[in-house]
Symmetry: C2
Amino acid sequence: MNPSEPQPALICLDWGTSSLRAYLLDGAGEVLAQQQRPWGIMNLPEPLEHAPPAQVPPAQANDARFKHALQDTCGPWIQAHPHLPLLACGMVGSAQGWREAPYLASPTTLGGLAQSLGVVTRHQGMPLHIVPGLLQSGSLPNVMRGEETQVLGVLATCANGAEQPLLIGLPGTHSKWVHAQGQQIHHFLTFMTGEVFAALKNHTLLGKTMQPAQTPDDDAFRKGLQVVRSGAHPAGLLSHLFSTRTLGLTGQLPPTAQADYLSGLLIGHEMAGLALHLQASTQPLPQVVLCGEPDLCRRYSIALQCWDLGTPMLAASATVRGLWRIALQAGLVDGHAKPASLTEGTFQ
Amino acid sequence: MNPSEPQPALICLDWGTSSLRAYLLDGAGEVLAQQQRPWGIMNLPEPLEHAPPAQVPPAQANDARFKHALQDTCGPWIQAHPHLPLLACGMVGSAQGWREAPYLASPTTLGGLAQSLGVVTRHQGMPLHIVPGLLQSGSLPNVMRGEETQVLGVLATCANGAEQPLLIGLPGTHSKWVHAQGQQIHHFLTFMTGEVFAALKNHTLLGKTMQPAQTPDDDAFRKGLQVVRSGAHPAGLLSHLFSTRTLGLTGQLPPTAQADYLSGLLIGHEMAGLALHLQASTQPLPQVVLCGEPDLCRRYSIALQCWDLGTPMLAASATVRGLWRIALQAGLVDGHAKPASLTEGTFQ
């Protein structure tokens, strides 16, 4: 081993519902190696060696599946470096996960999260620590699990600048919009936009006439946004949705444009809701940062500008950055976090 | 045959996507007999006798399936009374149906509909007439097919009174709200409420924790309505949906109450959209009439009152009444329409 080479310092895991991403980090929080498996908590592999299901208690079988997924993904790293700490975030800490890391009350801070890690004791090896999710109480409660880590990662990328208030958008299956600043998570909203889009596309009449497009049809997407933005059609989302069909029936929306139009309607309604929420606040509009899959961030960037919510900054690599920051704060590792890239939005 | 007994005068068919309902009517439009089959246009029976599919052109095979479904449902009536006229409404007249009855432009009248019937020529027997659907042009077009007949049926039940403007609500997979008066259909809206409910319940995270309730949970339904009605949560439907999960996670909404709560959220958003649409009109609030499945009408009745849209009247048997009225107007039969039952809403 060359002593001048960076040495592994942490194994961190982004362990969600549908996939498991693992990263080997050095003492500066840089990624030395990574692995990805489809072993989300709802899709764990069956260990070959264990006894037939009927003879194994369910909790023990569950434990064996998680162990097997971890071994399959990180086995060589753990074998080579048996004393590395392990830190995970995401649905692995839910009631359906490996071990429940109970929700921490929001608002909270980096310190609060780092003090509240769940632990899976591993028989022969270092324990696996799990970042808790956040629960925001109120007449309509809100929860997140995994996104708190992304948010801390995004905040870390701004550590060199003034600690200005940010509105961090995490578009996806369940879009989150998080008011945060410095090391604090203040308040957040959830929109089920991505999951509703998939359910409408795959399981209603609207999907039956859709055909895949070669490239995203931004005109159709903007047309969907404008139905909401114009205010000319006050009957709301459940009414607007049907126009995906009727514009198709009347030859005004080709089959290849219908999915992007529907996406525009839904993201448009998310923007309208976000804008009303922001109007209800006495604070000035915070700087918006988007963090997510590039094509989604591009769409949200268009939509934000359509609602006059400013030009978003774009953040990358937020989960790994957040896990590193939590590991540092919790004393699992020593080191110095490095700011990751944060770039001006360019999708206009 | 006893000459004093009512004689059959019309076979009418309510032929939709998932089922076929057939009625034998006498010369006063009264139902003498009825049949129901699951032979919706997307679920037609395969005739046993026809040649293997590869040897039959698709159009001919399609024709054979519709013929077989008609024969299976109404065969004995047609055999006993081979000269009875036949009139159908619904998706049987769509592009995916037996023969397309092109959309008629809305606004329209009873006379306009009766003059525009589509026709399926039957080799040995009377032709099958088909009521066209309606197309309302505009920047967001709207369509209906089958509901125009229901609306005429509802209007017939009011023929004895003053011809006041009505707002006719037809809750269901795609709820329709129709401004109509006398023999005229003026304007209509569509909300995809029922289909969105089913897609969310069956194909998203929200359905995973739901358990069936023994009886409808009206408290949960009203709680969902109030989230929308109160205005305290301005972020809109895509945000409100997630509370079905979070209220469950925090023990405030039992699994058996979650479907009714979700129903309340969705019907609440339909009401909010309808109310905004009505506010944009300079006309006074019309009398509301509901026509549909009893439990749905009960829910909508609660919701209408929650939005101060009045106590709805309830109409029954509207499709048969509408088909009879169109048959009379088109000269397919001679007779006198009788008003059907229209009762005060009692679900408060």
